[in-house]
């Protein structure tokens, strides 16, 4: 955001397979350890080796909300890293580059400092260590501590003594070179806190896995798919340490069915996938709705349709998540809005799934899953950021006489027996069934059972009114203009609103965390008195805006509330500027009304 700001955007461009991502990750880790807040963003090429990588880390003194806009400091490790970022480079930005890769860059008045990383690393016969040379240089440039840098390199690259020694040498060579050649004062240096607060450094995918473990998830079945694989890999590492089981299934259909089977057996179970996998799981989800089996499905959205752009972000699966599946079955959909929220919404997901015996889809996206953020150390989880609920089991008395697994109740919830419980023997049934779980086809029974299952959602909707964690509302209370969004776009919206607030613009925002059931009461209250609302989302057809139009048309019509859709399906997140301009535009268009 520029000089004298409390954040700085550092963008690194380089070749995939040449340690560009490692450069960014190690540098980010050093900054975080020294007490700065971080928020990363990365694009991957589809190729494993070769292709251009962009790694961005935004450093801040306070919690960073989004990846930011134009680069303040651009680190060009190759020519493309310079050329491709020229148009998204702050006018007062600073270029740091390898002169062997980027000869004589025309910076249009910006400052430029060569760090000859290729030459330096060749100097001690370790060319592939040029990324660490740059880490060393950046450590000095941002006045981070060399001791911290050494510790981070040791921790992340300490497996082979010989390689570690070389990397440490590279780090120090880079540090010394920058110390000698870089100017004494640097306008983008952020002050380091005396004593860093306790923080975790997590990717969104890791946050989801940890949240699931905290919630008590003990079974995971999944199939490798970009960009959701990290969730599976994190679970694979830790599930057995908690007595849990992970299966790498043969496909996504097997994954969802295994998870449903394990849940039927009494375990908290989940799977994680991306769009194509969710499409395959839809039949299984419909069964979980019918048989009333708890299951949590994480969908890390990527640019679609079809195979689309697997390594690029999107929010294009909202319709699929809300409506995908045959028939009308109960289901919940959650949308965490930050890495921190990913952790807490996973706890909510298991609470909802277990207590209401219903499948829950949690919508993340490529950008949020792969980025790394510093987040406050998770606190007491129940009641503030998330709610803790458990499955309702039958009492011994209920099991002793005439146990009915699908007993028709007022709130739609029927106690669920677990295999091994004497007297609870029942058949989970994908066919329409009566209270005992026996297939039943009469019109009366179908009607009663459809209503019973629908009541589950209504019970949950009433329950959620008291959940602080089911919706976020902030800004100027009851302002005439609003922003409604969902998921990972919230950071950019918060920052755009800060900019608008600084300019005296009154605007308010609402982000539901539960997309299904929609927190109708909160939305209605929010819409009251609004002239117009902006709905920014990363898909092509404005899916959330359509949901709002469809669900609240009476209120929108009666009060003549206009919806301004801001749809973007390009594979990359919103820039703060885009939200800001769209909000400005809305206010200008609607202002006279």
């Amino acid at each position: 955001m520029g000089i004298n700001s409390r954040t700085v955007v550092v963008r690194i461009g380089g070749e995939a397979g040449e340690g560009t991502v490692t450069l960014g990750e190690v540098f980010t880790r050093i900054a975080a350890r020294d007490g700065l807040e971080v928020y990363t963003f990365r694009t991957y090429p589809a190729e494993i080796k070769g292709g251009q990588v962009l790694f961005q880390t935004r450093l801040g003194i306070e919690r960073v909300l989004s990846e930011g806009d134009a680069a303040d400091v651009l680190v060009a490790m190759n020519l493309k890293g310079w050329e491709e970022n020229l148009n998204d480079f702050h006018s007062q930005g600073v270029l740091i580059y390898d002169p062997d890769a980027v000869p004589n860059p025309e910076t249009r008045g910006r400052q430029a400092y060569p760090i000859p990383v290729t030459k330096i690393s060749k100097g001690f016969d370790f060319v592939r260590g040029k990324n660490l040379v740059m880490v060393g240089a950046l450590t000095w440039i941002f006045r981070l501590r060399l001791e911290t840098a050494r510790a981070v390199v040791q921790k992340s690259m300490g497996r082979h003594a010989e390689v570690l020694a070389k990397n440490l040498q590279a780090l120090e060579e880079g540090f010394s070179y920058a110390q000698e050649h870089f100017p004494e004062t640097f306008s983008y240096t952020l002050p380091l806190p005396e004593k860093p607060a306790e923080r975790l450094l997590l990717s969104g995918a890791e946050a989801m896995a940890l949240g699931a473990l905290e919630a008590g998830c003990r079974f995971f079945a999944g199939y490798p798919i970009t960009p959701a694989t990290t969730v599976m890999e994190t679970m694979a590492r830790y599930l057995p340490t908690f007595g849990g089981t992970l299966v790498q299934a043969e496909d996504e259909i097997a994954s969802i069915n295994m998870a449903i089977g394990a849940s039927y057996g009494g375990m908290k179970a989940m799977t994680a996938t991306s769009g194509p996998g969710l499409s395959l799981m839809i039949e299984g989800l419909s069964m979980a709705s019918m048989a009333e089996i708890p299951v949590v499905v994480v969908n890390v959205q990527r640019a679609s349709p079809s195979t689309g752009m697997p390594t690029k972000t999107s929010q294009g699966d909202l319709f699929l998540s809300l409506y995908g599946g045959h028939g009308d079955g109960p289901r919940f959909v959650l949308a965490p809005d930050s890495v921190k929220d990913c952790y807490y919404q996973m706890i909510n997901a298991f609470s909802l799934a277990e207590h209401f015996q219903t499948p829950v889809i949690v919508l993340s996206d490529q950008a949020m899953a792969s980025r790394v953020e510093t987040i406050p150390y998770p606190e007491t989880i129940c009641g503030v950021w998330s709610e803790c609920l458990e499955r309702i089991l039958p009492t011994p008395e209920e099991l002793a006489q005439d146990y009915r697994r699908y007993r028709v109740t007022e709130n739609g919830l029927s106690p669920m027996a677990i295999p091994g419980m004497p007297g609870g023997m029942y058949m989970a049934e994908s066919l329409e069934h009566n209270e005992y779980g026996h297939p039943a086809q009469s019109p009366e029974n179908h009607k009663v059972m459809m209503q019973k299952r629908a009541r589950i959602v209504e019970t949950a909707r009433k329950h959620l009114v008291n959940w602080d964690s089911s919706v976020r509302r902030w800004g100027v209370a009851n302002a005439k203009f609003g922003i409604m969004g969902w998921g990972s776009t919230r950071g950019a919206v918060r920052e755009a609103m800060e900019r608008l607030a600084a300019e005296g613009v009154e605007i308010e925002a609402l982000y539901p965390h539960t997309m299904l059931p929609m927190p109708d009461q909160a939305v209605s209250e929010f819409l009251r008195g609004k002239k117009a609302i902006l709905v920014p989302e990363l898909n092509f057809t404005s899916q959330f805006a359509r949901v709002i139009e469809h669900r609240y048309y009476k209120q929108l019509d009666a009060r003549d509330i206009h919806i301004h859709m801001l749809a973007k399906e390009e594979g990359v997140p919103f820039k703060i500027e885009e939200i800001y301009q769209a909000a400005r535009n809305m206010i200008q268009v609607e202002g006279g009304r």
Binding site: L210, A254, A269, P419, P422, Y426
Partner: protein
């Protein structure tokens, strides 16, 4: 008090046509349960979709009537959540070899400790008679009025090729033999596959044919010899009944339990420390 076969019978009347081969499987299962003295609450029978997949509803054990073709992953999840229970997967040839054919090799590869009983009638019965993956070439049915041109699959040969640790064939016309096979399959500490020749009296009545062409496996057949088993599995006349293959290697739930025991024990707080900046 000794358990009786009828203890495992639910009060739901089977939907099968009179004379259906699946009745024999129903009876054989209940007899095997009783003879193994299994408690009802410790048995879970999962199924897919089709006539034979209605089985769990006719038993008073725990059950799961799932979706078409997905019985093996469903049963795998159930077994992994309840490793000490007896888990049985049942279904037909269409369920297991057509729509669900992709799961069979993986259940075998994992050697998950479930018994998989495939009631093979070489027809889609519930949808009123279409050719199935095991229908003989030239089968004329509603959806193949000019006769099928696909070669049939051989379930026993497939199971052997997938390295299934227990492979057997039974026939609904030989009840006692089926009970004996089921009892071994239910106790097998790995993936046990039983193909039951279970004729469809309405669309492909093969009772007489199987009475004529089936025969017990040679008495000297070595059940650990896979090559011999593969050779015998290719014989169509006689079409052998009995245990083709039986070997023991560690099962999947046993191994995942061992992994849990091997994994270092950490608390959530310790786990968080790894992510501290």
């Amino acid at each position: 008090m000794a358990r009786k076969p009828n203890d495992y019978k639910s009060n739901v009347k089977p939907i099968w046509c009179p004379g259906c081969g699946d009745y024999a499987v129903h009876v054989a299962l209940m007899r095997a349960f009783a003879e193994l003295d299994l408690a009802q609450e410790n048995i879970i029978v999962a199924s897919g979709i089709g006539c034979s997949s209605r089985m769990p509803g006719f038993l008073s054990t725990y059950g799961f009537h799932g979706i078409h073709g997905r019985v093996l992953p469903l049963a795998t999840g159930i077994k992994l959540s309840q490793p000490d229970k007896t888990v049985i997967a049942v279904g037909g040839d269409g369920d297991g070899l057509s729509i669900g054919g992709g799961h069979f090799p993986h259940a075998a590869r994992r050697n998950i400790e479930i018994a998989y009983i495939m009631m093979d009638n070489s027809i889609y019965g519930m949808t009123k008679g279409q050719a199935s993956p095991t229908s003989p070439e030239g089968t004329k049915q509603a959806a193949s009025p000019y006769g099928t041109v696909e070669a049939p699959l051989n379930p026993i040969l497939l199971a052997l090729a997938y390295n299934t640790s227990f492979v057997a064939r039974a026939f609904s016309g030989e009840l006692k033999e089926m009970v004996d096979i089921f009892k071994i399959a239910l106790q097998h500490p790995g993936f046990a596959f039983v193909q039951v020749l279970s004729p469809c009296v309405s669309f492909a009545n093969t009772y007489d044919l199987f009475r004529e062409i089936t025969a017990p496996l040679p008495e000297n057949h070595d059940v650990t010899d896979i090559t011999a088993a593969m050779q015998l599995a290719q014989s169509q006349a006689p079409l052998y009944r009995g245990i083709f293959h039986h070997s023991v290697r560690p099962g999947y739930s046993l191994q995942t339990t061992e992994i849990q025991q091997r994994a270092p024990k950490v608390t959530m707080a310790e786990l968080m420390e790894r992510y501290e900046r």
